[in-house]
């Protein structure tokens, strides 16, 4: 009981807060609007009164009692009221737009700041994501609408009061009847609104899902699969069913509500008729002038409508608004990152993961089960492992998007949670697995890495050059100013590989100390792939680097490899160290290398996979069969061997590997020209 009351109080408090906001930010226009709307409530009773006067003086004139001037002046007054009524509509519209503008100017920064500070997990949690999308991008409209709706309550009360004064002289009982009628109407209206809100909310998920299914059918992304697999009929039926179920549910409520309303209406009509009879009685008894009779009887339907429909409706709308205000409040109170007590840090020594455990909010499965490793400044590590092993999660934790459940992540001994946003931004740059392709200009796509340098063309060009993306710019009609993507009409879409290079250029542009390259979700061609890893490494030569890849060969350009399995680090070391013993890494490496090995030295795939407890006997046989069909060609073999061994030395002896000194010397004399060699290699072949 107490809890309910408190909830009720909170409802009013929330609405009050929102009203204050409108008055504060709306300023003069809001005050004028409020006064105008409330004042306008008097127009309706005024015109009733003037009608009465007009008719009475008209009849007087008819019977020769009054003069024509008084009659005409009442008519003119009546017309004036109508003029005011007409202007009112327009001024209200203009004022409303003004107020909405002011509200927006005031709210947008607040909302934007909220988005900026909100904990990242809120965006990934479906419940809070719903809330975020409901509050949406135009809270100003909802708040403004609330203001109008709330203003109509006093407006209607003024009208009611005015009419009451007119009616009062003809019988207090009419007013009492009004009050009696209002009680059930109000109750029913409020109940209906609550019910409708409930239905609406319970249907959001299913409506969103219907929207999703529709977008699958109409969108570009799924267009190929929709056609090839013939999914339209299935999805269309599913969509239709969802829509109909929702519609039927809504109709069920509406039907019941309207039946009740019909019964209620009968009551109202009886009241209406009874009132007319009583007025007639007064008229015939000479207690009421004919003008008054006409005016009151004509305004009776309006009065009944107001009492039984308009006022209860306005009041019941309060529920909707209170709900919105509560959600807005909830939104504004979503957990934030507190940046005030945090320190800035210069990464000098090492980043350390210490026994880190983590599971995503609202899930039971631990993704990280005690991850520990260290990364020294300037070092380049490769994180490899099965899909779903937790590689990308490690990155999310490192970037502070999530907090570990236990254990610690530190930079030079400072917990990552205590490092302020400014230094984190300076420290890290990342190319995520699901990197964004912004449908904006190429300039923006690159400069988002370091947005204050957006007009530094030289820097942008450098970043593009470092990732070998000059060709992208040169083929675009508008150069850096070309709008990319499909959102703008006339935008130029890039291929996936090109988008990826743009994403990498963005990271390069940021000048961050730690560069993270998460393995992309789709692949690019071999030449471009080699080029990208090389250029990523080249542009990050003096930087700390985290490379995530299942392409183990490429992991060799790192100083150290960390192998993740089941949410923990299972192996760690240089490529050569790991290759020298019977490790998971070696198993995986061999599995990939087989594609490039010559037939005679090739191990059948079955042995590799068998190690993982999967049996693939038949497929191994299949491979051999296909291979033998390829025929023998010793000349070709030797060419490949030749070039492969060259490539090996080039790749195996990168500058960093030898710098760590953990690499058993192979061919150190070539190290300085490692990259150039790899390039010429390709050209030679």
């Amino acid at each position: 009981m107490i809890a309910k009351e408190r909830k009720g109080n909170r409802k009013y408090a929330d609405v009050l807060k929102a009203l204050k906001l409108v008055l504060r930010t709306g300023g003069l226009p809001a005050v004028i609007l409020a006064v105008a709307v409330i004042g306008n409530g008097a127009l309706s009773p005024l015109s009733v009164w003037l009608t009465k006067k007009t008719i009475d003086t008209g009849i007087d004139r008819l019977s020769g009692d009054g003069d024509i001037q008084t009659f005409l002046s009442w008519i003119i007054l009546l017309i004036l009221v109508l003029v005011v009524y007409n202007i009112r509509e327009l001024t209200e519209m203009v004022l409303k737009i003004r107020i909405t503008h002011r509200l927006r100017d005031n709210l947008v920064p607040i909302i934007a700041q909220k988005y900026e500070r909100m904990k990242y997990s809120c965006f990934e949690n479906s419940k809070t994501a719903d809330l975020i999308s409901r509050i949406g991008n135009s809270p100003e409209k909802s708040i403004a609408n609330m203001f109008w709706d709330l203003l109509y309550i006093p407006n209607q009360l003024v009208t009611l009061l005015g009419l009451a004064m007119l009616y009062f002289s003809s019988g207090w009982w009419i007013l009492a009847g009004c009050v009696l009628l209002m009680v059930p109407s109000l109750y029913i209206s409020i109940k209906n609104v609550r019910e409708n809100l409930h239905v609406w909310r319970s249907q959001t998920l299913s409506e969103r899902m219907a929207g999703y299914i529709s977008s699958l059918m109409t969108g570009r992304e799924a267009a190929n699969e929709m056609r090839l697999f013939g999914l339209f009929d299935y999805l269309n039926a599913k969509w239709f069913e969802k829509k109909i179920i929702n519609l039927n549910e809504r109709m069920k409520f509406l039907k019941r509500q309207n039946s009740v309303r019909m019964l209620e209406n009968v009551l109202n009509y009886i009241f209406l008729l009874r009132s007319i009879c009583i007025f007639l009685y007064s008229l015939l008894n000479g207690k009421m002038s004919f003008g008054k009779f006409v005016a009151l009887v004509s305004s009776l339907p309006q009065l009944v409508q107001m009492i039984t429909w308009l006022i209860p409706y306005s009041i019941s709308q309060f529920e909707t608004h209170a709900m919105y205000c509560r959600e807005l409040d909830e939104f504004l109170n979503l957990p934030e990152e507190d940046d005030s007590d945090r320190v800035s840090v210069d990464f000098k020594e090492e980043i350390r993961f210490d026994d880190v455990y983590f599971k995503y909010p609202d899930t039971d499965k631990y993704i990280l089960n005690g991850v520990s490793f260290a990364l020294r400044r300037g070092e380049k590590i490769a994180v490899v492992g099965e899909n779903g092993a937790g590689k990308s999660t490690i990155i999310k934790l490192l970037l502070g998007l999530y907090r570990p459940d236990s254990g610690s992540i530190t930079i030079d001994g400072v917990d990552i949670g205590n490092i302020n946003n400014a230094s984190r931004k300076k420290l890290f740059a990342a190319v995520f697995q699901d990197f964004c392709s912004y449908s904006l200009t190429l300039r923006e796509n690159i400069a988002f890495g370091y947005v204050s340098e957006i007009h530094n063309d030289q820097k942008i060009n450098e970043a593009l050059a470092k990732t070998g993306s000059e060709s992208i710019v040169s083929q675009l009609p508008g150069g850096l100013e070309t709008i990319l993507g499909k959102v703008y009409e006339g935008g130029t879409d890039l291929s996936y590989g090109q988008w990826q290079r743009v994403a990498i250029s963005r990271a390069v542009f940021s000048d961050a100390e730690v560069m993270i390259l998460d393995e992309p979700t789709a692949a690019i061609d071999p030449a471009a792939e080699t080029e990208i890893y090389k250029s990523f490494a080249r542009s990050a030569e003096d930087k700390t680097c985290i490379l995530i890849s299942h392409r183990l060969g490429i992991a060799r350009i790192a100083d150290r490899v960390i192998v993740i399995k089941g949410g923990r680090v299972v192996e760690e070391g240089t490529h050569d160290e790991l290759m020298s013993s019977n490790t998971l890494y070696k198993t995986m490496f061999d599995a990939q290398a087989q594609w490039y090995r010559e037939r005679d030295t090739e191990k059948p795939a079955v042995e590799i996979t068998a190690g993982e407890g999967v049996t693939v006997e038949n497929s191994a046989g299949e491979i051999t069969a296909m291979e033998s069909a390829a025929g023998e060609n010793s000349a070709a073999e030797s060419t490949v061997r030749e070039s492969s061994s060259e490539g090996n030395s080039a790749a195996g002896n990168t500058a960093w590997e030898s710098a760590t000194g953990e690499n058993p010397a192979e061919n150190t004399s070539r190290e300085s020209t490692a990259f150039e060699d790899a390039e010429t290699e390709g050209a030679v072949c």
Binding site: I68, I79, S133, F229, M262, N387, P526, Y596, E681
Partner: protein
């Protein structure tokens, strides 16, 4: 580029479309709209009678009986009104919603018949967006009501006018003249508003896009890391300012015009009252009629205005609906009628070239190729060489711009499309992650067997999704996937395996694997590749792979460069040749030696 239809054609097409899509609803709306048209005139008459009778009672010229009849009439009238309101709020609302849903469903069907390559220019995107906007907007269901409410209004207008005529014909003329300026202005405003909306669509799309960037996890991640949040906010604010400034200017200008024209109708009302007063004084109008005339003048004015406005709205509505008619008229995939019952001999491409719509550049040029039934072919080449485009041509998703592409001895477009696609399968590079159940994600590959649990479980096993099935999905095929609706989220590699399972689900003759193992880890990659070859044994398989080494598992390798076939042959032949293939191969091989 897009056709333009004259308004009468749009009108006719839309109405017949509505009738065909939802005939029952169409007729119901007609009945429910026309009958209530008689109400307003009845109201005027009833009040007039009430006042006249009561005034006459005052002077003893009337009997109480007539008064009772009038009161009964009021009650009946009010009850009728209430029933109409009930029907409007329930049945009519439902019917409108039904028409909307059915029309949207029709739009979906239409999309299915539009060639996928049309997505490559922004036109289709916009057209679909606008067409569904038409259907979901109030305007569309209103069109139907407009038609009937015009009939309704005519009835009401004529009856009301007749009533007013009995008071004085001059009053009718006054009403008509005084509302003309207002009606004209409203009509002009309506037209203008449509153009403003049209102009806004791209801007509104951008606004929504920027809004999405601010709220979606994917982009928030990057904004946090790089710190360009403010920039997006400012840009978003800028676009919103532009849009609102336009609306504001428009409102201001139109508002002023509206004030003046509305004055004229008020003036007309005032004059009407004055004139009635004059008639009353002159004794040409009795008191009851005078009392009733005041509201009647307003009603008739309102009738005239709404008649003209509705007529204007109808015409504006047709402007909007034009988008829908254009969309529904878009060219469809030409479909043949020959049943395709599998590839018997070979797929042959002769001088095939392909150019994306609205593009000048040929993505593929002079492709000559024969793929024998049961062959496996690998296509390699650099980005933009045209590999995926070639695959989509072979799958019949795109249609060649030039040359001929035959399955056995007929072109793809001569076959019945459904029977043709039934024999095709593919795992696309940009495969879908359906936020639906695991069953649907896999079963979409073969809808006929979507409820065949054993078959799906077999596929799960064959594509090594067992762990996903048992651990993540708790051994239930009906587990919802994807975080969007609160389902279980899979990793990138797991999603890809699901896509592969989908491709394997159907018993196709031809299967295209576009970069099928991109995000799989090494152990699974080797395994999946081997599985592929086993599973596609006897089928015609086209594998596009960036891992050049894997290409040698195919019987023949096709190397594309700049939209042409640069070379083809077996792995060994191509290595020996030392051309493009050898270059790509050694580039990758160097990492594994």
């Amino acid at each position: 580029m897009l056709k333009h239809f004259p308004k009468p054609v749009v009108f006719r097409k839309t109405l017949s479309l509505m009738f065909k899509t939802a005939p029952k609803e169409f007729c119901a709306v007609m009945l429910l709209t026309i009958i209530p048209g008689l109400f307003p005139a009845a109201e005027t008459l009833i009040w007039k009678e009430l006042f006249t009778v009561s005034y006459n009672l005052l002077s003893g010229k009337s009997s109480f009986n007539s008064l009772i009849i009038i009161l009964a009439a009021i009650l009946v009238y009010k009850l009728l009104q209430s029933i109409t309101a009930y029907i409007n709020a329930t049945t009519l609302l439902r019917i409108n919603e039904m028409i909307k849903i059915k029309m949207l469903s029709k739009n979906h069907e239409k999309v299915s018949r539009i060639p996928a390559e049309n997505y490559e220019n922004t036109g289709l995107y916009n057209s679909i967006y606008r067409a569904s906007n038409v259907v979901t907007s109030e305007r569309f269901s209103r069109l139907l009501r407009f038609v009937f409410s015009l009939i309704q209004l005519t009835v009401s207008m004529v009856t009301n006018t007749l009533v007013l005529m009995t008071f004085s014909p001059w009053l009718v003329l006054l009403c008509l003249v005084s509302i003309l300026p207002s009606a004209v202005a409203r009509k002009i405003r309506g037209e203008r508003y449509y153009y403003i909306q049209l102009y806004h669509t791209p801007k509104i799309r951008i606004l929504n896009y920027l809004g999405e960037l601010m709220t979606s996890g994917k982009s928030i991640k990057e904004m946090r890391v790089f710190g360009f949040h403010r920039y997006i906010v400012n840009k978003w604010t800028g676009v919103k300012n532009e849009i609102q400034a336009e609306e504001w200017n428009f409102t201001k200008k139109q508002g002023l015009i509206q004030i003046f024209v509305d004055m004229s109708s008020i003036l007309g009302y005032g004059l009407g009252i004055a004139f009635s007063g004059y008639l009353l004084v002159k004794g040409r109008l009795d008191v009851g009629a005078f009392g009733a005339a005041i509201p009647a003048i307003k009603t008739v004015q309102g009738n005239f205005t709404s008649f003209l406005v509705q007529f204007g709205e109808l015409s504006n509505g047709l402007n909007y609906i034009h988008d829908l008619v254009v969309f529904l008229d878009m060219p469809e995939i030409p479909a043949g009628d020959a049943e395709f019952d599998g590839l018997k001999n070979a797929i042959t491409l002769r001088h095939v070239s392909y150019r994306y719509p609205q593009s000048e550049r040929f993505a593929l040029k002079d492709i000559n190729l024969t793929i024998n039934s049961g062959d496996s072919i690998a296509i390699v080449g650099e980005n933009g060489a045209g590999k995926s485009t070639l695959a989509k041509l072979i799958l019949g998703i795109y249609t060649p711009t030039g040359g001929e592409l035959k399955y056995d001895d007929m072109e793809i477009r001569q076959y019945d499309l459904n029977s043709f696609y039934r024999k095709m399968s593919a795992v696309f590079q940009n495969f879908q992650k359906y936020s639906l159940t695991l069953r649907e994600n896999i079963g979409f590959g073969d809808l006929e067997r979507i409820n065949d649990d054993d078959h799906i479980r077999n596929i799960i096993e064959e594509t090594s999704l067992d762990k996903v099935y048992s651990d993540i999905c708790d051994n239930s095929l009906d587990t919802l996937l994807g975080r969007e609706f609160g389902g279980k989220e899979l990793s990138g590699g797991e999603w890809q395996k699901v896509a592969i399972a989908r491709g394997m689900m159907r018993n196709s003759d031809v299967i295209v694997l576009d970069e099928p193992t991109a995000t799989l880890d090494p152990l699974i990659e080797a395994e999946v590749f081997n599985r592929f070859l086993q599973m596609t044994k006897g089928r015609t398989a086209i594998i596009i792979s960036h891992r050049v080494g894997s290409a040698r598992l195919a019987k023949r390798i096709l190397v594309l460069k700049d939209g042409r076939i640069a070379e083809s042959g077996t792995h060994d032949e191509l290595i020996e040749k030392g051309g493009e293939y050898a270059r790509l191969f050694s580039l990758q091989a160097q990492w594994y030696k």
